[in-house]
């Protein structure tokens, strides 16, 4: 099966700056794909390359097998939900949603009917006569979604779709986006710097750093088996343990990552550590510990007894939770 989007050795350099550097990527049709990385890691540039706002300076991009080089954005069957939503302030919501059909010459009755249907899809029926300025951030995002979906794109790009929303709304939209994607069967590619968002929503995640993909895989693979210190650090808040410390803890002398929630506070026979800071987070308490000069984090689930700051405790983990990394970078 041809991939929905395929990057082969694709680069986008701005002079000496390598925003995207020799990226290879395949997004399957119908996949919910996340591009995860810190700001400036090249994920947004990748999205813009797919949308057609940028052209690669090297390599190639194929969309459903067709080379996309030189094809302007308005000739691609790809639509974008912009980070700032980019709703047209001088148009009503209905005209915003119908815009894509209007410029394609769809007759007025049809395009207004389809725009109304798209608004229903994003649970904003009857909002068509309002202006973007009269809607809340969450509603504006739904309009942006409807405006993109009304064109029936084969690939939908979402640039930090939940970035501007508050926590509660964000969780709700995560579920809705996922449900929407399942029911429509459209390939969704979204960019985020929030690892929680990427892990919970996506079928597959590509982790970006300095213009390159450092690891791609299912959320579980990325979370449990990070291939590098960067991924271990960035995805979740893993403990990254240097080879020397690992040797002292009785493990192999290699870089390893250990999830905070995999560490248990035991009575004896573990690694001795002193509690430095204790942060109560509700469902868990997060401890910062000093184990023989190595800083570790551990999560104590609610209900278990939490050691005091300054107390020395024994840390225990099972060898299977310890993940050794090939790549130290």
């Amino acid at each position: 099966m041809t991939a929905a989007v395929e990057f082969s050795n694709t680069s986008r350099h701005y002079g000496p700056v390598r925003a995207v550097d020799a990226v290879n990527l395949e997004v399957a049709e119908g996949e919910f794909f996340a591009m995860l990385g810190p700001s400036g890691s090249g994920k947004t540039t990748c999205l813009r390359l797919i949308a057609g706002f940028e052209q690669p300076t090297g390599g190639e991009i194929r969309i459903f097998g067709e080379p996309a080089g030189g094809v302007p954005p308005y000739k691609r069957n790809v639509n974008t939900v912009f980070q700032d939503y980019a709703l047209f302030p001088h148009m009503s919501i209905l005209d915003n949603v119908a815009y894509g059909l209007m410029v394609k010459g769809v007759d007025k009755a049809t395009r207004l009917r389809e725009a109304e249907a798209a608004l229903e899809l994003v649970k904003l029926p009857g909002y068509g006569s309002r202006r973007p300025g009269q809607l809340s951030g969450g509603q504006r995002q739904r309009v942006a979604l409807a405006r993109a979906l009304v064109n029936k794109p084969r690939v939908l790009l979402l640039d930090e779709p939940l970035g501007a929303l508050d926590l509660k709304l964000r969780e709700q939209m995560q579920e809705e986006l996922k449900t929407l994607q399942r029911s429509l069967g459209i390939t969704f590619i979204f960019v985020t710097h929030d690892q929680g968002e990427a892990l919970s929503m996506a079928d597959r995640v590509a982790v970006f750093n300095q213009g390159r993909i450092v690891q791609a895989g299912t959320p579980e693979e990325i979370y449990k088996r990070p291939q590098s210190r960067f991924v271990a650090d960035f995805v979740g808040s893993s403990n990254v343990i240097a080879p020397e410390a690992m040797a002292r803890f009785g493990g192999e002398k290699r870089w390893a990552s250990l999830r905070p929630e995999a560490i248990r506070i035991g009575a004896e026979g573990g690694v001795a550590a002193k509690v430095l800071v204790s942060n109560f987070l509700g469902s868990t308490t997060r401890l910062s510990l000093d184990a023989d000069g190595v800083k570790l984090h551990a999560m104590v689930p609610a209900g278990l007894s939490v050691p005091q700051v300054g107390e020395t405790v024994q840390l225990v983990w099972s060898a299977s939770d310890l993940h050794y990394m090939d790549d130290a970078a």
Binding site: A51, G52, F53, P72, P73, Y74, K75, V78, N79, T80, F82, Q83, D84, A86, L87, F88, P89, H90, Y99, G100, M102, V103, K104, R131, P132, G133, R147, A148, N151
Partner: protein, 270 residues
């Protein structure tokens, strides 16, 4: 606290009223003299009031010639300014290129320069290039400062308009022309209207550049200047002055209201 800090002392109030009166009473004087019965000199108080000068002004062909020349010059200079000013503003605010700041400065320079410099420069350039002085040389002269007004208005609006609107339009399938027609133009329209009106008003009462770039024709302000020297049917000049005040004041007022609303529109989208 609040009411005390808001209340200005009486002396300040009087000074403010005096200042405003000094600025605006002479204009009322002009209006009053348009109705005087005394034709040779301005005498206060006017010996009597009449509306005959309106009829006389209406029937004088030189008034009509000057007025139509001014309207033509103003309109054409404004159209030139709208096209060039918008294009320039779009280039400066939408793209990054070497010398962008320099171009921005060069565009604004004509309005910072004294009109007499612009006038002399243009006059010598026209004669150097053997261009005969005509209505078109006046239009070119006016366009130099009209462009600035349109450019300033357009560039401010472009800066407030989110760049992703244009990308969103492309993304939704609109080509360059459709994007201009449906997204860019509606967003900058009020700014262009305001800039255009200011440009027209500037051109309409311009004297200095016109003096240097014009040939035998006189625009309305130049005609008035010449009329004041001649002691014949003087109140006709005042009648025309009233018309000039109205013609220039109304567009400026409209431009003010249009840009003020524009701010609200642009702000509400954010």
């Amino acid at each position: 606290m609040h009411s005390r800090s808001n209340a200005a002392p009486l002396a300040l109030k009087l000074a403010a009223i005096g200042g405003l009166a000094f600025l605006h009473l002479p204009i009322l004087l002009i209006f009053a003299y348009a109705f005087t019965t005394e034709e040779k000199s301005y005498q206060w108080p006017p010996p009597g009031f009449t509306t005959q000068w309106f009829g006389i002004a209406w029937n004088r062909p030189d008034v009509w010639e000057a007025l139509s020349l001014s309207v033509k010059v103003g309109s054409i200079a404004t159209v030139i300014a709208l096209v060039l000013g918008t294009l320039c503003a779009a280039a400066v605010s939408r793209t990054k290129f070497f010398g962008r700041e320099a171009i921005s400065l060069l565009v604004i320079l004509p309005i910072a320069l004294p009109g007499i410099i612009t006038g002399i420069a243009l006059r010598s350039a026209f004669s150097l290039l053997d261009i005969p002085f005509s209505m078109w040389t006046i239009i070119l002269g006016h366009a130099t400062f009209c462009v600035v007004v349109v450019y300033n208005n357009a560039v401010a609006r472009f800066r407030r308009t989110s760049g992703s609107l244009i990308e969103a339009s492309y993304d939704l399938g609109a080509d360059g022309f459709q994007t201009f027609r449906y997204v860019i133009l509606p967003n900058i329209a009020t700014a262009l209207l305001a800039g255009g009106m200011l440009a027209f008003a500037l051109s309409f009462d311009e004297v200095i550049v016109t003096t240097f770039t014009g040939g035998q024709q006189s625009t309305l302000p130049i005609w008035m200047l010449e009329e004041l020297i001649r002691p014949r049917q003087r109140p006709v000049t005042n009648v025309v002055a009233m018309v000039v005040v109205l013609v220039t004041f109304l567009p400026i007022l409209a431009a003010y209201y249009l840009t003020r609303d524009g701010d609200q529109i642009a702000g509400s989208g954010k």
